[in-house]
């Protein structure tokens, strides 16, 4: 199968090795800045295309590693060209857009995979398996943490809530999805956020309480309020029969204590640690296998849509100051 990547930012860089590892044919890259695309093309042994349209004609699968506000249009174009779509998270900025993407791909008979990479992190998978196996009984209360620094993308698009959806949609969507994966349907959401780093125009720290239909609850903490280089994640999942704890602070296998004056900091923080396989590679290999062999995806566009629904409910709660009930989504 022939693959084309759209975008040349941190996600394109994270996905490209996955396609190589999967044994896919990476036929080309297109990006707004040709020079950035050229660097990636050189590194991964592929070439730069002149336009998205040209790339679409040359591939079977398109991998959209572009700012979120472009997801809908580019997915619709790919579906119209009858190409399978891999699209970075979050699915879309609105439920309407997300549903339109899902419908368009369905009607075109192409697959749509939303890259909800957290589902491919081995510690998160292991905890989910333990929960499903009943090792800790029915769930009571979940605590999920994801705190880092303000990512800096092209044109500062992350900081532009109209383009990225902000902290709730861009970062916390991971944990909204994970909590739903474990605990099922969310009934209501209560959220508080603050803008600690000025002059950013959006909230960069939020505490969101989810109440699930089955009576359990979750506290989701998300932040871009931390100094450069920080990326901390944690979960604490308490059930009737037991507890699962994990945090990134205590499970780093390597701690360098180097005399370095200026540590390198990635433009976008990623929660990577030493693992047998990079979760982005696991994710791409899974999507590739599922498309090639017509198997179901481990995370569906409906799952991705549900996570957006929770994030939008949290945003509404910020506006109203009240708990917001999550509608629909079956």
């Amino acid at each position: 199968m022939r693959i084309g990547i759209v975008g040349a930012g941190s996600m394109a860089r994270a996905h490209a090795p996955g396609w190589i590892a999967a044994g896919a044919e990476l036929v080309g890259i297109v990006a707004k800045h040709r020079s950035s695309a050229a660097v990636l093309a050189e590194q991964f042994g592929t070439r730069v295309f002149d336009s998205y349209k040209d790339l679409l004609t040359a591939v079977d699968v398109i991998d959209l590693c572009v700012p979120t506000d472009l997801h809908k249009t580019m997915t619709m174009q790919a579906a119209a060209a009858r190409k399978h779509v891999i699209c970075e998270k979050p699915l879309a900025l609105t439920i309407k857009d997300g549903q339109a993407m899902i419908d368009a791909c369905k009607e075109a008979g192409v697959r749509l995979f939303i890259a909800m990479v957290l589902r491919f992190f081995p510690q998160y998978q292991a905890a989910q398996k333990a929960v499903v196996a009943g090792q800790i009984g029915d769930l009571g209360v979940l605590r999920l943490k994801r705190v880092s620094y303000q990512p800096s993308g092209d044109d500062a698009w992350f900081a532009n809530e109209a383009r990225s959806g902000g902290l709730l949609l861009d970062l916390m969507v991971h944990d909204f999805d994970y909590a739903s994966w474990l605990a099922g349907k969310v009934e209501r959401v209560f959220a508080k956020s603050v803008r600690s780093k000025k002059p950013n125009a959006q909230g960069d720290y939020a505490l969101v309480t989810l109440r699930f239909k089955n009576g359990c609850m979750a506290l989701i903490e998300g932040g871009w309020a931390y100094p450069l280089g920080v990326f901390r994640t944690a979960f604490d999942i308490a059930g009737r029969k037991g507890l699962i704890e994990w945090n990134s602070d205590s499970t780093e296998t390597i701690h360098p204590f180097l005399e370095s004056t200026s540590p390198e900091v990635a433009r976008v923080g990623l929660p990577l640690t030493v693992l047998s396989e990079d979760p982005y590679t696991s994710e791409i290999k899974h999507a590739f296998d599922a498309i090639k062999n017509n198997k179901p995806f481990a995370v569906t566009p409906q799952d991705a849509l549900e996570a957006v629904r929770i994030a939008l409910a949290a945003r509404d709660s910020l506006k109203t100051g009240k708990p917001v009930y999550v509608e629909g989504g079956d």
Binding site: V141, K192, V194, S196, T209, A225, P227
Partner: protein
């Protein structure tokens, strides 16, 4: 100075006995407990006198008492002690209703005795360091706090913690007040709004109170905080639980884990296996020293009735919020 302990219902009484005995100029006159079996047991364990009635303890003329009875009995015991002119250090939450708390205040004021709320974490060195960091502006303006004070189900220590009539509630009454107090102290502001999700999804049918709670409080200066008060640590956890905070300010964040200093002991002979055995500071000691100093110096203790009352009010508002499924304005809450 002579000190007694009123009731051994609260397990902290065990620790307080050891604290009092470390003080050279303080005499422990014993404790009172109307539960004869429990009284005899702890009298034997701690080699101290058990008075079979609270009147008996007060007849022995203590200068001060530590109230370790069930939450619902605090009012009766505080009033009894105050009438005898005895100073009071009262376990938290100070009462199960605002009316009871006010009766306690009035009794102490009338008798001219000190009332101190037992919030030991105010005296914890790591908690104090963070307070100093805030005062020195190291975090800049404080914006938000993610607080955790979750624990195991306290039923195995004392059944009454899980009985509404005696405890006034469950996990919310047990654990919300510590962090509310610390956050009021850190911010120097009062809480204006409370939102709480509470549930008995853990241990359903086993206890008649809420076992899980996620509370969101907002202060008058805009700071907001989450407090996890859940009884969500399993019974085989290496320790009772945690008190942790992550504070987010304009210059970054700081996390504090007040009970991080422990040894991990793997032994079938340890209280649990494995067991986290504390080697850090004992804030109870400093708290009791402050109580005694406030009496000697004839001044208000550093943690007052007002602090205990403010924390109780938030805990009670949690139940109202959970019932109404909406945030509660604290000024409207009676």
């Amino acid at each position: 100075m002579r000190i007694g302990i009123m009731s051994f219902a609260h397990l902290h009484a065990e620790a307080y006995i050891a604290n009092i005995r470390k003080l050279s100029d303080i005499e422990l006159i014993g404790f009172s407990d109307t539960d004869q079996e429990r009284g005899e047991h702890f009298s034997e364990v701690f080699k101290t006198k058990c008075f079979q009635s609270h009147e008996g303890l007060l007849d022995a003329k203590p200068d001060a008492v530590i109230i370790c009875s069930e939450n619902a009995n605090h009012r009766e015991h505080v009033v009894m002690a105050a009438r005898e002119g005895v100073h009071v250090l009262c376990e938290k939450p100070i009462a199960v209703s605002l009316e009871d708390a006010k009766i306690m205040r009035d009794a102490c004021q009338k008798a001219g005795v000190n009332f101190m709320t037992a919030f030991p974490m105010r005296f914890d060195p790591s908690i104090i360091v963070v307070k100093e960091m805030l005062e020195q502006g190291k975090l800049g303006k404080l914006y938000a706090v993610n607080g955790i004070n979750h624990s195991e189900l306290p039923k195995k220590h004392r059944l009454w913690f899980t009985q509404k009539a005696l405890a006034g509630g469950g996990a919310v009454m047990d654990h919300t007040v510590h962090l509310v107090d610390l956050l009021r102290w850190y911010t120097g502001h009062e809480i204006t709004e409370v939102y709480a999700e509470i549930s008995n999804v853990l241990y359903p049918g086993e206890v008649d109170v809420e076992t899980v709670g996620l509370v969101t409080v907002t202060f008058e200066n805009g700071v907001f905080a989450s407090i996890d008060c859940s009884w969500s640590r399993p019974n085989n956890y290496p320790r009772w639980g945690h008190l942790q905070m992550e504070l987010i300010g304009e210059k970054g964040a700081v996390s504090v884990d007040a009970f991080a200093q422990y040894l991990t002991v793997y032994s079938e002979l340890a209280p649990r296996d494995p067991s986290w055995s504390a080697w850090g500071a004992d804030p109870n000691q400093t708290m009791i020293e402050e109580f005694i100093a406030s009496i000697k110096e004839k001044r208000e203790p550093r943690v007052s009735w007002s602090d205990g009352f403010a924390a109780l009010k938030v805990a009670l508002a949690c139940y109202e919020s959970a019932q109404r499924k909406e945030p509660i304005r604290l000024k409207d809450f009676k």
